[in-house]
């Protein structure tokens, strides 16, 4: 326990110091934080509950649009803002910007949670691949429909309020980095707290055999919806931060980007190891480094490389990095290994 505390404290200190140690990578580090949030919260469904969702992107995009809309709509007419496109007809003062951002992030986190609660009962009644395809449809439908709504910019996109003129580019990077880092810390603490309660055992029971879990008297639907709402909360928050960071929201390419972000979060969790606490964190970090490497070295071919990467990960590493470590060093994971038993199993294979 003591060792863990030191580990967490050192990670926290490193996280706080990171933008000053690597000042050139602030934006990349913020994106990494967002990716980790998405992977860790996807893991609540995909890993622990066994519901492989492609639809968490719905909450992410929703949070993105809501945060930006609130930030603009609190002070200026929203329709005129989007109509004027990127041109700065209205300028936020620093106070307005930060007030709007704070209110926007609260809305961006709360509304997707409510949405998840409302649609949860219908969607979570589906199982297995039907759930996967249904949520995929949900994400893409949201993107297509939001691309037709005029007030949030329709096809031409939505420019989020530019960062006010305090401290320039450095301050902007630091602000968004700390936003995303605190969101990440909040998400990680929440998920860790959840995983140490009975709730996690219930989720695992649902994954292993939902019918039996129900027969044991667990109200599976209630817990499934709660799990989804926790995910939606953090996905919305991450989306809101990402919207401000990117500075421009497009319906299908940035917000409801089911083909990229929606698959990335699944992939990161699988790469790290589904159903573990640290797996998605490691997976997201490795994936982000890979991705940026592709972007730098295979410019133009990055998506081709990405497609190959997906296929390779899914076929050859379905257990992920944590799964591989577990196979290799089971003692470290607190598993009691009986040598004779292990040998017998090898022979059986």
């Amino acid at each position: 326990m003591n060792k863990n505390l030191i580990l967490y404290a050192s990670i926290l200190v490193f996280g706080l110091a990171a933008p000053f140690i690597f000042p050139a990578f602030k934006v990349q580090l913020s994106i990494l934080c967002v990716l980790i949030i998405l992977a860790v919260t996807w893991n609540i469904q995909g890993g622990e509950m066994g519901y492989n969702s492609f639809g968490n992107i719905l909450f992410y995009g929703l949070g993105m649009y809501l945060c930006a809309s609130v930030q603009v709509g609190m002070f200026f007419p929203l329709a005129e803002w989007t109509e004027s496109g990127g041109e700065k007809t209205f300028v936020h003062t620093p106070t307005q910007f930060f007030q709007g951002m704070a209110a926007g992030l609260v809305v961006a986190a709360v509304v997707p949670t409510i949405v998840a609660g409302l649609i949860g009962y219908s969607i979570l009644g589906l199982r297995g691949h039907y759930f996967a395809i249904c949520t995929l449809g949900l994400g893409v439908a949201a993107g297509e429909i939001s691309g037709g709504i005029e007030i949030i910019g329709a096809g031409q996109g939505f420019t989020t309020p530019p960062f006010p003129n305090v401290g320039g580019l450095e301050a902007r990077g630091e602000f968004f980095y700390f936003c995303s880092f605190f969101a990440l810390v909040l998400a990680f603490i929440t998920v860790r707290a959840i995983y140490s309660t009975r709730f996690k055992l219930i989720l695992n029971a649902i994954r292993d055999n939902e019918d039996k879990a129900e027969a044991m008297g667990i109200e599976t639907m209630k817990y499934k919806i709660i799990g989804w709402m926790v995910s939606a909360f953090f996905c919305g928050l991450a989306g809101g931060i990402m919207g401000g960071l990117v500075g421009y929201i497009d319906s299908t390419d940035v917000a409801f980007d089911g083909r990229e972000m929606g698959v990335f979060m699944v992939l990161m969790a699988i790469l790290g190891g589904k159903g573990t606490l640290w797996g998605p964190v490691i997976g997201a970090t490795v994936f982000h480094i890979f991705k940026e490497g592709f972007w730098t070295f295979f410019l133009g071919w990055q998506y081709v490389a990405l497609g190959v990467l997906i296929v390779v990960i899914v076929i050859y590493f379905p257990e992920g990095i944590m799964g591989w470590l577990r196979e290799k060093y089971p003692e470290r994971f607190g598993e009691v290994v009986d040598e004779a038993d292990r040998k017998a199993q090898v022979e059986l294979k």
């Binding site: 492989n52 219908s122 969607i123 009644g125 589906l126 199982r127 297995g128 691949h129 039907y130 996967a132 395809i133 249904c134 995929l136 449809g137 949900l138 893409v140 439908a141 993107g143 297509e144 429909i145 691309g147 037709g148 329709a154 096809g155 083909r259 698959v263 699944v266 992939l267 699988i270 133009g300 071919w301 998506y303 081709v304 990405l306 497609g307 190959v308 990467l309 997906i310 296929v311 899914v314 076929i315 379905p318």
Partner: protein, 297 residues
Amino acid sequence: MDFMVFQYPMITIQACLDGILLGVLFALIAYGMALQWGVMNIINIAQGDLVILGGYIAYFMYLYGIHPAWGVIVSPIIMYFVGVGIYKLVINKVVDRDLFISILATFGISILFMQLMNFAFGADVVLANSGYGTTFLFDSNVVLPNSKIFSAVVSIVFAICLVIYMKKSKLGRAIRATAQNARAAKILGVDTEKVYAATFGINAALCGVAGALISITFTIHPYMGLPYTIRSFMIVIVAGLGNLPGVAMSGMGLGVFEEFADYILGTEFRIGSVFLLLVLILVYRRFKLSRKREYLK
């Protein structure tokens, strides 16, 4: 707007005819989907991208001065080998695994194909002009391009040929046997590995035919694949596996639905309404089954 159906009967007829002709194409793609789903227990997200690839083959024949209708013959032959190639490289490793693994793996293939097509053919919307002219009905109030009629007829011919092939030929019998019980088929001497490869190849060939027809009648674009996958998935879950008349009927129904959504809601909501319809159908089925304490599986 609400009473469009009664106020402008010609638009209604136009939308219905367009929808039915389009739906036949959807049904052809969905038949391929049902085939591989039933036989190999795989949901292929790359289905739509195979369709678009088939379309580009016909488009290239058109660019080089060959009439694109020949693409209906050439495209499936090329696509068959593409399909077998994909099977040998990727699919045979995910056949026995969880369905979600196959969804993700084919998602990867889909992204790969999308981008490769984007590189090879550019991001422009293209179509192969067949030069078939148009038919006018009802005092030229209803306009039907002949290419649409051609594509519907060709799809029906291909579907009938395939059904006969599946019923009569040796490979068709092997495929059906594997679909019923792969293990028993293996014991009785069916080389299931070959059957799987052939099934995936046939599916890709069907996609090739459909793609060639789509490039003649509509337009193709490297990123347009996913809606075709979702449409075929929807048709299959509405009709059920192995229900061929059902596939044809729900394909046409989907085509008509889309044309009406296009007229009433506007073209920008067309794809969105397709995806939303999928969600609604699944949720409807879920509530219907939950009354019997069952679930979709």
